[in-house]
Amino acid sequence: MLSVLIALPLAGALLVALIPREREETIRRVGLAVSLGALVVAAWLFRAFDPASGEMQFAVRVPWIPALGIGYAVGVDGISLLLVGLTAVIFPLALLGSWGSITEQVKWFTVAMLSLEGAVFGTFLALDLILFYVFWEAVLIPMAFLIALWGGPARRYAAIKFFLYTMAASVVMLVAILALHVLGRRLLGERTFDLEVLATMVLPPGVQAWLFAAFALAFAVKVPVWPLHTWLPDAHTEAPTAGSVILAALLLKMGTYGFVRFGPMLFPEALPASAPLLAALAIVGILYGAVVSWAQTDLKRLIAFSSVSHLGFVMLGIASLTEQGLQGSLIQMVNHGISTGALFLIVGVLYDRTHSRQIADYGGVAALMPRFAVIFTIVMLSSVALPGTNGFVGEFLILLGAFQTSTWWAVLGVGGVILSAVYLLWAYQQVMHGPQAARHPERLVEVTRREVLVFAPLVALIFLIGVYPKPLLDRSEAAVQAVLNRLDRPAMAEPLRRPR
């Protein structure tokens, strides 16, 4: 079933590639249908998933390149399930949201989006390190092309920076993966890249520290952890709306997912040892991102920096290494995907009408677009983490977890919550209220039915998770517990170690 999830979008991309490019309407519909199909599969998976188990479920393992010990191994647990669900929700909305804004080369746009979806699913589901790396890198190609071909004025620079920055960090991870493989061959006497097999090794702390550093670098760039975030504002700002949505909602989560998935399993001693450093960087990121957001004049850049701040919360939750913190992080990954994805879509709505992203070019929009104002308000409040919205659940749990580990972490984190309220409310006020400042007020027409259709599921999820997060928490609880167990008793796997 998991393979279907990966293969369906890829097959869809192939199918779209065969449709003549003049038939744009057909191409758009096929693209949407395929991503909705993936959503159905993901929904089924969500229901069939057994919340009581912290193990990998629906796992499939077949040899892929036996000569090198590489296998096709996929599986899902409470950690990846939430992100798979998020991916399945976001892609159809991103496709639908760009119905009006992408008018050139619709065919290749759809092909890129669908192959991106397949690769993102693969990244979250892979249990073989090489397979994971393949998907991880494969994500870059369609994403870079999305930015480079359909992006804003500085798209070329942004695409290259995005690609080289993230790839440079991930190839170092590749070498670390190879080193793990070699260690596995020596310690376990087996040629394998299988995560769960390699996780049975007990590595000396020094080796763990080096290898974790290599993995962490790749993940930290992707998150992005301050001070490795500099690719993000450019990429987010220049990408087309759908690209920004995918980038913010899903690609950044690949980094935080990497920390949660691989940190505890492969580096059960190095992760706790580096937790204070990660927490410190996370807190700097929270505060720095928030302050810099406040200073932006470009709406997209503002949201981009707010991502740095919000992902800092996710990292703080992970670094707390407590049950609440980790659960909060997982929920917050989903929340950030929903609310920031929605924020980028909101900017997209404005941009489609006026072709400006400058805050100064707007004002009093609420009077012209009252329904749009309601949507913006809800999304903004979710991003600010108002109780009753999804953001509150995540940030509350994270701060609770951080508090257990260190009071100071929580105190500083709360500062970030306040700042995020400040800059988001400020931006909202500048754009939606005040005197009419738009240069083309006649273009600011009310949201269309299609646009409402895009926002409706996101708004519903904002309230649903805000009021009743139990279905998500239930499913992630066992997996989080398994993570913490591993950190408590890393020596569990001792018997597997063999003399050389």
Binding site: L68, I141, R156, F163, A168, V182, R185
Partner: protein, 502 residues
């Protein structure tokens, strides 16, 4: 009277088949009417396929007083060389006809050079290796200069010839020194000699000179300076063929000489090869960044790939040797494919070899653009293509068997691969994003080369209907994708080479 040694003709049947095909092509060309030259192409490919079938089925053996060795390495190396010949022939006819330079000799030269490459993979003696190297090189010089009307092509041929003979002289001198020290030119005898005692200065110098000679052919830094000029001047199909076949031949020979024969002395040469590999990867990739000419870009790319291959030779484990052969298989496909893309294009009666020429090509030739994107992604070593699996094999072997040095080489390898993404992906970017602009008014400043004879290249790039080139593109793209998704069969085939080391 000394009785001549028996000639085990069956042992060398594949080479004989290829050479016989070359002769038949040469003679048949005299009687064939020009419009029926397709028969030459068909006949050549048929001969190559026959040779490949022979090569795969023949059992192991040695002959000619142990000078010729048929083993797993021979089998894999020759199969790859034969594939390169077939692709090299199929990629040419339409281009040659368009530029009115089609003659039977072209195909015969490709076949003879290929036979030289096949012999290099099988040489168990330095003298045979030298003969094979010359059999490979001389036709390549001629092919580089085969566009007689073009000054650039003439320049390329002359440059290649002069520097190439210089390198051959180094190689020969190395053989002489080794013979002086050891009293034999047979690889097995040399290995015994070198293993016996502390190596003499003459022997060490001899090995060093061999590396220079082979390194020149493979365009390893610092023996690479000829490559960009020669690739730029040579006609596209010739450049495609030489970049691939020379690499297959040289790396098969390097694997035979170093890991296979001198494996016991690995400590003495791994550092040398490792340093060469590091320098080659770095210089090749950095120099490629600045190229605006597609051929020069591919030339530096080919240099860079020689560096990655050399990492495998320097690592010298069974896995590394197998990885080198796998890499060669992938490189043969993606290298030929990358050249073949440009063979189908033309600008104002000239080759379309500036990257900017390809602007907006995706509009008019979506499949060609998609194939280019695939080859470039694979050359950059990104998943899900064969280029990734090939690099993975090399780096995995280096990390596993190369100790600290291997780890450093792997790190240099992955980081330079990142650099390479920048220049490779620029090509599909231009194809998809660029607007096909009006012709550049004057000849423009082509990077470094002599501007070609006609007043100046002008006009937009035109696409020619070229079924044979399309076949090449289809085959190479299929291999690149197969190696990316289901590489088992090819890797298993290449593992015969590693098995020799176990």
């Amino acid at each position: 009277m000394i009785a001549p040694p028996p000639v085990p003709i069956l042992l060398i049947a594949p080479e004989v088949a290829v050479l016989a095909t070359a002769m038949v092509v040469l003679v048949a060309d005299l009687w064939l009417r020009p419009e029926r030259r397709d028969l030459l192409v068909g006949g050549s490919v048929l001969g190559v396929v026959l040779a490949a079938l022979l090569g795969v089925t023949l059992p192991d053996g040695v002959g000619f007083a142990d000078r010729y060795v048929r083993d797993g390495l021979t089998r894999v190396g020759q199969t790859l060389a034969l594939a390169a010949i077939a692709l090299g022939i199929l990629v040419a006819p339409e281009y040659l006809r368009r530029l009115r330079m089609e003659r039977g000799e072209y195909y015969a030269l490709v076949l003879i050079a290929g036979a030289g490459a096949m012999l290099m993979a099988a040489s168990g003696d330095l003298l045979l290796l030298f003969l094979a190297l010359e059999t490979l090189s001389i036709p390549l010089y001629v092919l580089a200069a085969s566009r007689r009307g073009s000054v650039r092509s003439q320049e390329a041929g002359m440059k290649y010839f002069l520097l190439g003979t210089f390198a051959s002289a180094f190689f020969l001198y190395g053989i002489a020194l080794l013979y002086g020290a050891a009293g034999t030119t047979r690889l097995a005898g040399l290995a015994d000699f070198l293993a016996r005692g502390p190596s003499s200065l003459a022997a060490a110098a001899g090995v060093g000179l061999l590396v220079i000679g082979l390194g020149f052919k493979a365009a390893l830094v610092p023996f690479h300076t000829w490559a960009p000029d020669v690739y730029e001047g040579a006609p596209f199909p010739a450049a495609a063929f030489m970049s691939v076949v020379a690499k297959i031949a040289v790396f098969a020979a390097l694997v035979r000489v170093f890991p296979l024969t001198l494996g016991a002395l690995a400590g003495q040469w791994t550092v040398l090869l490792g340093v060469l590999a590091a320098v080659t990867m770095i210089v090749g990739n950095l120099a490629a960044l600045a190229q605006t000419n597609y051929k020069r870009l591919l030339a530096y790319s080919s240099i860079a790939h020689a560096g990655y291959l050399l990492v495998g030779v320097a690592t010298a484990t069974p896995d590394a040797a197998s990885a080198v052969m796998t890499y060669l298989a992938v490189y043969a496909a993606m290298g030929t494919g990358a050249f073949a893309v440009a063979v189908a294009l033309e600008r104002g009666g000239q080759e379309a070899d500036r990257i900017e020429d390809y602007a907006g090509l995706a509009e008019r030739a979506p499949l060609l653009a998609a194939a280019t994107a695939l080859f470039m992604i694979s050359l950059a070593g990104l998943p899900p293509t064969g280029g990734f699996i090939a690099k993975l094999g090399i780096f995995a072997a280096a990390v596993e068997g190369g100790g600290r040095g291997g780890l450093v080489l792997a790190l240099i390898g992955v980081l330079t691969s990142v650099t390479s993404v920048y220049y490779y992906l620029r090509v599909p970017y231009v194809m998809y994003a660029g607007q096909p602009g009006p012709a550049v008014a004057s000849g423009g400043i082509s990077s470094g080369g002599i501007s070609s004879g006609v007043g100046g290249p002008g006009g937009a790039v035109r696409l020619h209907p070229s079924p044979m080139v399309n076949l090449v593109l289809l085959l190479t793209a299929a291999v690149v994708l197969q190696m990316g998704f289901l590489p088992r069969t090819i890797i298993a085939f290449a593992q015969q080479v590693g098995a020799l080391l176990r």
